[in-house]
Amino acid sequence: MTDERIKELELQANDIRISIIDMLEDAGSGHTAGPLGMADVFTAFYFEILKYDPKNPEWKERDRLILSNGHIVPVRYATMAHAGYFPLDELKTLRKFGSRLQGHPERERLPGLETTSGPLGSGLGQAAGMAFGLRMDAKKNRVYCFTSDGEHDAGNFWESAMFAAHHKLSNLTVVVDRNNIQINGFTENVMALGDLKGKWESFGWHVIEVDGHNIEAIIDAVHEAHAIQEKPTCIIAHTIPGKGIPEIENMYEWHGKPPSTEEEQRFLKELRTLRGKIEASHAE
């Protein structure tokens, strides 16, 4: 991948972060930390990895991206808008009455979401069901499931992890948003996940760990996952919640609240500065 392309993608991720701050302030409620932390992963997927047609979201040959931790959906809405699914203006309707952009994603309201999600622990099973169905029909499309680390507390999640490995669903790839926070605090204090890589490996998965803000590394990890034929792959993406806005990075207090109007102005300024830094770093 050329340096020019990497710069484009990093700038794209920054634009998505700007949209996230903008829409959350407008909405007056919602989650900030997770969406900012996953902006690079979403950018890598929608602008480099996934096969889809934004003008025909139900295209049969598309890859399926299942967002299991539905509460970070602002990053998906923002990315979809930037990818051409719907006008950027519509992002302002987030969480408002009559909007297609529900507080938690609803499949039937907005084409392209694939599933309705929010209640945690149930996305991986759905992704596994789709992957199984595709394999039954000898289809080559791939299924990706994005999930949070806090979501690993749920029993259903591990049932699904066991199921996908048992049935050798190698067309399924999980991306774990390993940002170490959940609502009540740091994951290791709320319910310790311990050796997360070891847990997945012992369940029979191929595991790759990446820096979730290194777009090239994310893309490489997905390519590696495609090469693993005998088991599903789990990519543990180490991310920084609130990434891009230093004053809120790594603060679990920002898991579930939006910026105020005053904070929005400050945060947008940070992100505009970051834009300059990205351009400068690639100019050297």
Binding site: R64, E114, G123, A127, G129, G133, F163
Partner: protein, 327 residues
């Protein structure tokens, strides 16, 4: 009078002459039939293939059978994925566990998500017998009918269960089918009509003041009770309300039109079950004196199916007594 248009078994009033088959067997047969008709039908089972009769499908279509292990929450979510992709998944377990344990997954990933998963709740009711209260689902009609988008069907015998299986496979909607473990008389025939949302008056008295609306095994027992009461000069009609959702309000209102008292009968908690669904219709359009045969806010227990059915009043004699008590 028996409703002739329903082509019921001619030995209707000779129970010993009727074949005894469990509704789960009718389902098992229906699942194989629908599998033959439609290659998109797949079967998912949570480690209960033999007793839910998923085994019959597995033997015929091993490539379309998916094992889940003892994991009912995953059963629901994986099925949601299959249905979302374009398959028609049937999920098999005991009703106490599915939809018992996985209600939220059914709510969010099947009903709200609105994908056509077919939830098969086997071993519902006290007629499960010796396994006892843990395995006797008595709340499933309530927890399924409360969900928007969900179809809820409780077949009256194995033949109706077979037809209901074929019907829900093709309705394109999230659906719940309630089954029993115990063998019960097969009083309908291949020629008996079945359609989702279409109840039938199976026994029409001449000038009844009392009507029974029943589902599941209680339909046949109610017919026997009506016939016995008729011989004692008490006129009672009986409706088989096998589709509890969507509720056919018009058919129910037509049935109760000239009645003074409506009895509902189900092997389920009286709270929030089929009887409550009927009451919701009547109280809106045609308030009637009502009484409810069902579990009276308690759990079941171990025993033989016959002992339990008799003890809890789910037999012809129990229904006759209930009606006489309410005269």
């Amino acid at each position: 009078m028996v409703n002739k248009t329903l082509h019921l078994n001619s030995n209707l009033f000779n129970p010993e002459q009727l074949e005894q088959v469990a509704t789960r067997d009718g389902f098992g047969k229906g699942l194989v039939e629908t599998g033959e008709k439609n290659p998109d039908v797949v079967a998912l089972c949570a480690d209960l293939a033999e007793s839910t009769r998923a085994q019959w499908f597995k033997e015929k279509f091993p490539d379309r059978y998916v094992e889940l292990g003892v994991a009912e929450q995953n059963l629901a979510t994986v099925a949601s994925g299959f249905a979302n992709y374009g398959k028609i998944p049937f999920i098999m377990s005991y009703a106490a566990f599915s939809p018992g344990r996985n209600w939220e997954q059914i709510r969010s990933t099947i009903a709200l998500n609105n994908v056509p998963v077919k939830i098969i709740g086997a071993h519902a009711g006290v007629s499960v017998g010796p396994d006892g209260a843990t395995h006797q689902a008595l709340e499933d009609i309530a927890t399924m009918r409360v969900l928007p988008n969900m179809t809820v069907v409780v077949p009256a015998d194995s033949e109706e269960a077979r037809k209901a299986t074929l019907a829900i496979a093709e309705n394109g909607k999230p659906s719940y089918l309630r089954l029993a473990r115990a063998k019960t008389p097969v009083f309908t025939t291949q020629d008996t009509p079945f359609e989702i949302g279409q109840p039938h008056v199976v026994y029409q008295a001449e000038n009844p003041k009392i009507g029974i609306i029943a589902c599941g095994s209680l339909v046949y027992q109610s017919v026997l009770a009506a016939e016995a009461l008729s011989k004692q000069g008490i006129e009672v009609s009986v409706m088989n309300l096998s589709t509890i959702k969507p509720m056919n309000e018009k058919a129910v209102l037509d049935f109760v039109k000239n009645l003074d008292h409506v009895v509902t009968a189900e092997e389920h908690q009286v709270a929030c079950g089929m009887g409550s669904a009927v009451a919701e219709v009547l109280v809106k359009h045609s308030p009637k004196n009502m009484s409810f045969i069902g579990m009276q806010d308690r759990y079941g227990e171990s025993g033989s199916p016959d002992e339990l059915l008799e003890y809890f009043g789910f037999t012809k004699d129990g229904i006759v007594k209930h009606i006489k008590d309410h005269l």
